[in-house]
Amino acid sequence: MATYLLRRVLLGVLTLLVITCFVYGLARAMPGTPLTVQLGEDPSRKLNPEDQERLRRIYGLDKPWYMGYAQWLGNVVRGDLGRSITRKQPVTSLIAERIGPTFLVSGTALVLIWLLAIPLGLYASARSGHADERTASLLLYVLYSFPTFVAALFLQVIFSVWLRGTPWELPLFGMTDLPADAPWPARWADIARHMILPVTCQTYVALAYDSRFIKANMEEVLRQDYIRTARAKGVGPWRVLVRHAFRNTLIPLVTLLGLSLPALVGGSVIIEQIFTWPGMGRLFFESIRERDYPTIMGLTLMFSVLTLLGQLLADVLYCAVDPRVSVE
């Protein structure tokens, strides 16, 4: 196990090196620099050539990209992700600022998904083949194919145009309309109201997918001999389903949970963009548009680490819960 972990970690570090190097090269190859993209549009804020040259030197933009990458890598090894060029603050504090709102939405969504997906999946496998199950499964499948950003736009149209002025009207943009010094109950209630639509959008697709996944796994298990044995000795149908069958489908579910790790803190670029939610996905999109290299790199590093960690976690958990599987 120890050698396996060591090998995986070493390979992971190698993968990270390749990814960051590649993304850094790509980011630097995009036309424009943070200085020109940010100031370029507005002639009154145009820097004179000397200032521009000075800033370029300060941010290391005068060096070729591989030198810049080496410098960035050296700082990362020393635990420094650098400072955002366009936002004038350390990348770590920028991430710390944005991770909360993203986690609020994706964490709520994750809890909702599992709370709803498990009963739905169990219900579908209990009623498998019946008319009600078929209708429900078809609806879930249709929901699964409904693109999130289209759903987000539909919801915005419904709540901004068709429900305007009714009690069901919901805020469409941002996280809160209240100032930061508002009393906390009102503030949290307002944030909760703002969260409804983004959370809905992040929940329904995964809900549809996960409940189908649970049902597929349940069907596999329900064919096993020990289920027949349990039924034959007179165990009630729900007890068979939950205690005998569902427990044995937990293994793939654990894997699925591990793989959803990056999305939990990475957020969704397009959902956060549509609802102008101040989270990580939006930060990512903005940093690409602003050519803010340190932020792009910090976020890429974080996402890649989480993706690799999620995969490793899924594999290790798999071995931990199923003694038949070995890491080799």
């Binding site: 590649f22 980011a27 289209v150």
Partner: protein
């Protein structure tokens, strides 16, 4: 002596799979929807447009509507005679003997129709006035361009994106997976590593960065990028299939008969691995359409003259009171994605022997 035995061939794998596929009404409905989209895409200029499908002008027959596919396919005589894109009036004025067969629906996907361009027809409403009406069933956008015409012509983009990008992704994925699975050893280590790296690179960064680097990104670039990033799942699956099949008896027999590795991979293993690999490719088509429309929605799609469903959605963002800019293209994207997913699902159930056994 051998008696004459009637030549009985058992049905092949694909014929049998088709037989099973056909029995699934939803999958068949989805397949016919895709067929319907293909028909719309091919016939787009004849369905909605302002250029005649067929006309006789100055003694010559021509099809100016082909100009919607490619500018240069529009006969030069119309540019010489200063038609400037408006046919009905010009045809009658410049050649009284001319005649024309018009598209079903006289609206242009790239510009608003002006007043009296078609005798007696008013100009398209612009800004947020263009709610759906008899003349513009799906409404018009801010510039007064008809949404139905835009969507009809955008079908080509949606279909091409799916087929071209998954063609690219499928080719890369199958080649990478086949090499890794068949040869094993260091080849496998290398290809698996590359696959993992591509999986970990955030797709959006990759796509946005490459689009930014290109001077003039066209829809073809977008397709190439989606294809170049979307092959990892296919590669993994192909690798697994090749790993499984390379030890089977028929491969050993082929090797004993002296077949080289390329021949074994292409002629013996690939046809047997194709069915499971086609399933993720079909789902990939749905995913590619999604990626393209979300890119267009974010404003990183093909440049304006190309009509794409996602870019209509982007126009809607400035004013939600123009709900028709959201509802119609959004529904089109949804139905297309759903159709491809259902086709993939049907294919999966028709070709996977394990599922068939489960059904019994």
């Amino acid at each position: 002596m051998m008696a004459h035995v009637p030549h009985l061939r058992s049905r092949g794998f694909w014929a049998e799979a088709w037989g099973r596929y056909r029995r699934r009404p939803l999958a068949m409905a989805a397949l016919s929807f895709v067929g319907f989209l293909v028909a719309i895409a091919i016939l787009a200029p004849a369905i909605a447009g302002t250029k005649p499908v067929l006309c006789r002008y100055k003694g010559r027959l021509s099809m100016p509507c082909l100009g919607y596919f490619n500018r240069s396919w529009e006969p030069a005589v119309f540019a010489r005679d200063r038609f400037r894109g408006t046919y009905p009036r010009n045809l009658a004025e410049k050649d009284p003997d001319s005649w024309a067969i018009w598209p079903l629906f006289f609206q242009d996907p790239y510009r608003a129709v002006r007043a009296d361009e078609w005798p007696g027809m008013p100009a398209n409403p612009a800004m947020d006035e263009g709610r759906p009406s008899g003349r513009n069933p799906f409404g018009t956008d801010q510039a007064g361009v008809d949404v139905l015409a835009k969507m009809v012509h955008g079908t080509t983009v949606a279909l091409l994106v799916g087929f071209v990008s998954m063609g690219i992704a499928g080719t890369i994925g199958i080649v990478v997976g086949a090499l890794g699975g068949y040869f094993g050893g260091w080849v496998d280590t290398l290809t698996s590593r590359i696959t993992e790296i591509v999986m970990c690179v955030p797709t959006l960064v990759l796509i946005l960065a490459i689009i930014a680097i290109l001077e003039k990104p066209t829809i073809w670039h977008t397709m190439a990028i989606i294809g170049a990033t979307g092959w990892t799942g296919i590669a993994r699956l192909t690798r697994g299939e090749f790993l499984r099949l390379k030890t089977s008896e028929f491969v050993m027999a082929a090797r004993a008969a002296g077949a080289g590795p390329v021949r074994i991979m292409l002629r013996h293993i690939l046809p047997n691995a194709l069915a499971p690999v086609l399933v993720p490719i079909t789902f990939g088509i749905a995913a590619a359409i999604l990626v393209e429309s979300s890119l267009s929605f974010l404003g990183f799609g093909p440049p304006p003259p190309t009509a794409s469903w996602g870019s209509i959605l982007n126009d809607a963002r400035s004013n939600y009171r123009m709900w028709w800019l959201v509802v119609f293209p959004g529904t089109a994207i949804f139905l297309t994605v759903l159709a491809y997913n259902l086709v993939g699902e049907g294919l999966h159930e028709a070709t996977d022997p394990r599922l068939r056994e489960a059904r019994k």
